[in-house]
C-alpha cells in the first residue's frame, strides 16, 4: 500500500519534475546576444545528466514518502550540491564548442530546481528544530561548499564569473566600501542609539516624540533621503573648515553614511528601550535593595538582561543596512549597488547578478549569524 504523500513534498516534487524538463542552461553567442535554451541532456555529458536525473528522482521520492527529517535534509542537499557542480560542468561543455566571448548562464530549469530544493531543505531544517549551533553548522557547511566550488574554478566558465573577471579589481573594492558603509553606520547607530534608548527608557516624556520622529525618518524613501542629504552636506563641506579634508562631500560616502545612520537609529533606540522596559521590576528592585547604585544597576543588571532585545535591533539594522547600502551607488557612495545600477543601465543581467547576489548573501549571512548569537545568549527567548 502506498502511504499518503507529504503535503509539501507533493508540490515541491512536482516543481522539481517540471524543472528537469525545462532548460538547464542558456547559451548566448556573445554578451548581449539572444539566449538559446539548452536542456538537461544537451547541456551535460550523458553521465552527469543521468546522475542528476537519478538524484532528482530520489529527492522526489524522499519528498513524497519519507518522514525522518535527517533524510529529508540529506537527499535534497546532495542533489543541490550536484546541481551546483553540474551547472559549472555544463558551462564548460557548452563553451568548448563556442567562441571565446560566448556566455553560458543557468537557465530557468536550474533556478526552478534550485528553488524547489531550497524549500525542501528549509522545510527539513525547520522540522529538525535546530538549535543555534546546528543552524550555524549547516550554514557554515553550505558556505564552505560554495566557497570550494568557487575556489576550485568549477564555475569559471559561467557568465557571471566571466563578468566578475572583467570587474575583479573593482569588485573587491566596492565590496569593501559596502561593508564599511553598512558596518560603519551600524557602529555609529549603536554608539548613539543605545544611550538615547536608555534616556527615553528613563524619561516617559521624551519617549513619544523621539520614537515618532525616528519612525518618520524611517518612512522617507531611501533615494529621497540619500539625495536630500546632498544639500546640507555640500554646505558643510563648503563652509565648515576642515570638513572637506576629512572626506565630507555632498556626494559619495558621506551622505550615504549619514542616511544609513539615520535609518538605523529607530531600531537601535526602540529596541534598547524595549529591552530595558522588559526587565522585570522585581529584579531591578532586588538589585537596588542590595545597594547597587543606579549606574551599577544599569551596567551589571539591566543592560545584560536587555542584551538579547538590543541585539535583535542590531540584527534588524545590519540586514537593513546591507540592503540599503546598494542605493548609495546612486549618489556615488560605491558598494555592490554600483554593479546593480550599471547592469541595469547596460541591460547586462550578469552584471546585475554580480551586484545583487553578494548583497543577498551578505544580508542572509548577517541574519543567520546574529540570530544564532541572540539564541545563545543567556536569558534569550526560550
Amino acid at each position: 500500500m502506498i502511504p499518503r504523500p507529504d503535503k509539501l513534498g507533493a508540490p515541491m516534487g512536482a516543481l522539481l519534475a517540471v524543472a528537469l524538463a525545462l532548460p538547464l542552461a542558456s547559451y548566448r553567442a556573445n554578451r548581449i546576444a539572444l539566449a538559446e535554451a539548452r536542456g538537461l541532456f544537451e547541456a551535460l555529458p550523458a553521465v552527469w545528466a543521468a546522475a542528476l536525473l537519478a538524484c532528482a528522482v530520489a529527492t522526489i521520492a524522499v519528498a513524497l514518502f519519507v518522514r525522518p527529517p535527517a533524510i529529508r535534509l540529506a537527499v535534497p542537499a546532495l542533489t543541490l550540491l550536484l546541481l551546483l557542480i553540474a551547472i559549472g560542468v555544463a558551462a564548460r561543455m557548452l563553451m568548448a564548442n563556442g567562441a571565446d566571448y560566448a556566455r553560458v548562464a543557468p537557465g530557468t530549469g536550474f533556478w526552478l530546481a534550485g528553488f524547489a530544493l531550497s524549500i525542501l531543505i528549509t522545510d527539513a531544517i525547520v522540522r529538525l528544530k535546530p538549535g543555534p549551533f546546528l543552524r550555524l553548522g549547516v550554514f557554515a557547511l553550505a558556505a564552505a561548499a560554495i566557497a570550494a566550488i568557487l575556489v576550485t574554478g568549477e564555475w569559471n566558465a559561467l557568465s557571471i564569473l566571466a563578468e566578475y573577471r572583467g570587474h575583479a579589481a573593482t569588485f573587491w573594492r566596492e565590496g569593501a566600501h559596502h561593508l564599511q558603509l553598512a558596518f560603519g553606520s551600524l557602529a555609529a547607530a549603536i554608539a548613539a542609539g543605545v544611550p538615547i534608548g536608555i534616556l527615553i527608557h528613563r524619561s516617559e516624556r521624551l519617549k513619544g516624540p523621539v520614537l515618532s520622529t525616528l519612525s518618520l525618518i524611517q518612512t522617507i524613501p531611501s533615494i529621497a533621503l540619500f539625495g536630500m542629504l546632498i544639500v546640507p552636506l555640500s554646505w558643510v563641506a563648503a563652509n565648515v573648515p576642515g570638513a572637506s579634508e576629512i572626506g565630507i562631500r555632498g556626494i559619495g560616502m558621506a551622505p550615504a553614511f549619514v542616511a544609513l545612520f539615520l535609518y538605523s537609529l529607530l531600531p537601535m533606540v526602540a529596541n534598547t528601550a524595549a529591552g530595558l522596559s522588559g526587565v522585570s521590576p522585581s529584579v531591578t528592585e532586588a538589585a537596588a535593595g542590595m545597594g547597587l547604585t543606579s549606574r551599577q544597576r544599569l551596567i551589571s543588571v539591566e543592560l545584560p538582561l536587555a542584551l538579547p532585545v538590543i541585539l535583535t535591533g542590531v540584527r534588524i539594522v545590519l540586514v537593513q543596512n546591507i540592503g540599503l547600502t546598494t542605493i548609495a551607488a546612486l549618489i556615488g557612495g560605491g558598494g555592490f549597488g554600483t554593479f546593480v545600477f550599471q547592469g541595469l543601465g547596460q541591460t547586462a543581467t550578469d552584471l546585475i547578478l554580480l551586484g545583487a547576489l553578494p548583497t543577498v548573501a551578505l544580508a542572509f549571512a548577517a541574519a543567520v549569524v546574529l540570530d544564532a548569537v541572540i539564541d545563545v545568549l543567556p536569558g534569550a527567548k526560550a
Binding site: K7, L8, I119, T122, D123, I125, V126, R127, P209, S215, L216, Q218, T219, I220, P221, S222, I223, A224, L225, G227, M228, I230, V231, S234, V319, I322, G323, L324, T326, I327, L330, I331, G337, V340, F341, G343, L344, T347, T349, I352, L353, G355, A356, T359, V360, A363, F364, A366, A367
Partner: protein
C-alpha cells in the same frame, strides 16, 4: 503635542503637497537657488501630478493583491489543514525579509524586462512578507480564553474566523499593510532606475544632471507622501485598536 496641533500639522502637509502638485510654478523661487545656472528649477520632462499618480497607482496595484493573498495564506496556515506549513512559512518569511528590496527589484528585471512590471513584481513580493507575518501574529496571538469562549459558545470555524479572529487581528494586520505600503513607496522610487513611471525619476534626473532642485523636490515630495500615508494608516489602525 496636543491633538489639534497635530491635526493642523497634518492638514498643512497635505495642503502643501497638493499646492506643489497643482501649481509647482509658485515654488520656483524657493527651488531656483539649488538649480545650476540656466537649468530648469521645476522638473519639466513630465507633470509632477502625473508622476505622483502613477507612483501611487503602482503601489496600490502591488499592495492590494499582496494584502489579499498574504491574508488568505496566513488564514490557511493558521487553520488545521494548513498547520503543517506553519513553521515552514515562518522560516520563508524570515529568509525572504533578508532579501533587500533593491535586489528583488534588480533580479526581476532579467526575468520580465524593464518598465512597470519588475517594479510591480518586486513591490508585490516584498509586500507579502510583512502583511503575512502580521496577519499570522494577529491570528495566532488570540488570547486563549477568548479562543476557548468562541468555540465554547458554539461558533463554527468560519464564524470564529470572521466574527472573532479577524476583527481582533485587524489592527495588527493594518500595521502590516502600513509597513508594506511604506516599503513599497520607497521601492517604487527606485523603480525609476528600471524605467517605471514614478517620482524616483525626478530625483534620479537631478542626480544625473547635478540639479539639486530636482533632487530636493522629488525627495521632499516622496518623503511627504510617505509620511502622510504612514501617519494616516496609523490613525486608522489606532481607531480599530481602540477597543481591544
Amino acid at each position: 503635542m496636543s491633538r489639534p496641533f497635530v491635526f493642523l500639522l497634518r492638514l498643512a502637509l497635505v495642503a502643501l503637497v497638493l499646492a506643489f502638485l497643482f501649481v509647482p510654478e509658485a515654488f520656483r523661487p524657493l527651488l531656483e537657488p539649488f538649480a545650476p545656472v540656466g537649468a530648469p528649477a521645476i522638473y519639466d520632462r513630465a507633470s509632477l501630478l502625473d508622476l505622483t499618480i502613477s507612483h501611487l497607482l503602482i503601489v496600490v496595484a502591488a499592495i492590494v493583491p499582496a494584502t489579499l493573498i498574504s491574508v488568505a495564506l496566513a488564514i490557511l496556515v493558521s487553520r488545521p489543514i494548513g498547520a503543517e506549513f506553519l513553521p515552514l512559512s515562518r522560516a520563508i518569511v524570515n529568509i525572504g525579509q533578508t532579501f533587500p528590496p533593491v535586489a528583488v527589484l534588480a533580479l526581476a528585471v532579467p526575468v520580465v524586462g524593464f518598465g512597470t512590471w519588475p517594479t510591480l513584481i518586486a513591490l508585490f513580493l516584498y509586500g507579502l512578507l510583512p502583511i503575512f507575518e502580521n496577519t499570522l501574529a494577529g491570528l495566532t496571538g488570540l488570547q486563549p480564553a477568548v479562543a476557548e469562549a468562541a468555540k465554547g459558545t458554539g461558533m463554527t470555524g468560519r464564524q470564529r474566523l470572521f466574527q472573532v479572529e479577524l476583527p481582533l487581528a485587524l489592527p495588527v494586520i493594518l500595521e502590516g499593510v502600513r509597513i508594506s505600503l511604506v516599503i513599497a513607496l520607497s521601492t517604487a522610487t527606485i523603480g525609476s532606475t528600471v524605467a517605471a513611471k514614478g517620482l524616483g525619476e525626478v530625483i534620479i534626473a537631478g542626480l544625473n544632471s547635478n540639479n539639486l532642485a530636482f533632487v530636493l523636490q522629488g525627495g521632499l515630495l516622496t518623503g511627504a507622501l510617505a509620511v502622510i500615508l504612514y501617519d494616516g494608516l496609523g490613525e486608522i489602525s489606532r481607531m480599530t485598536a481602540a477597543r481591544s
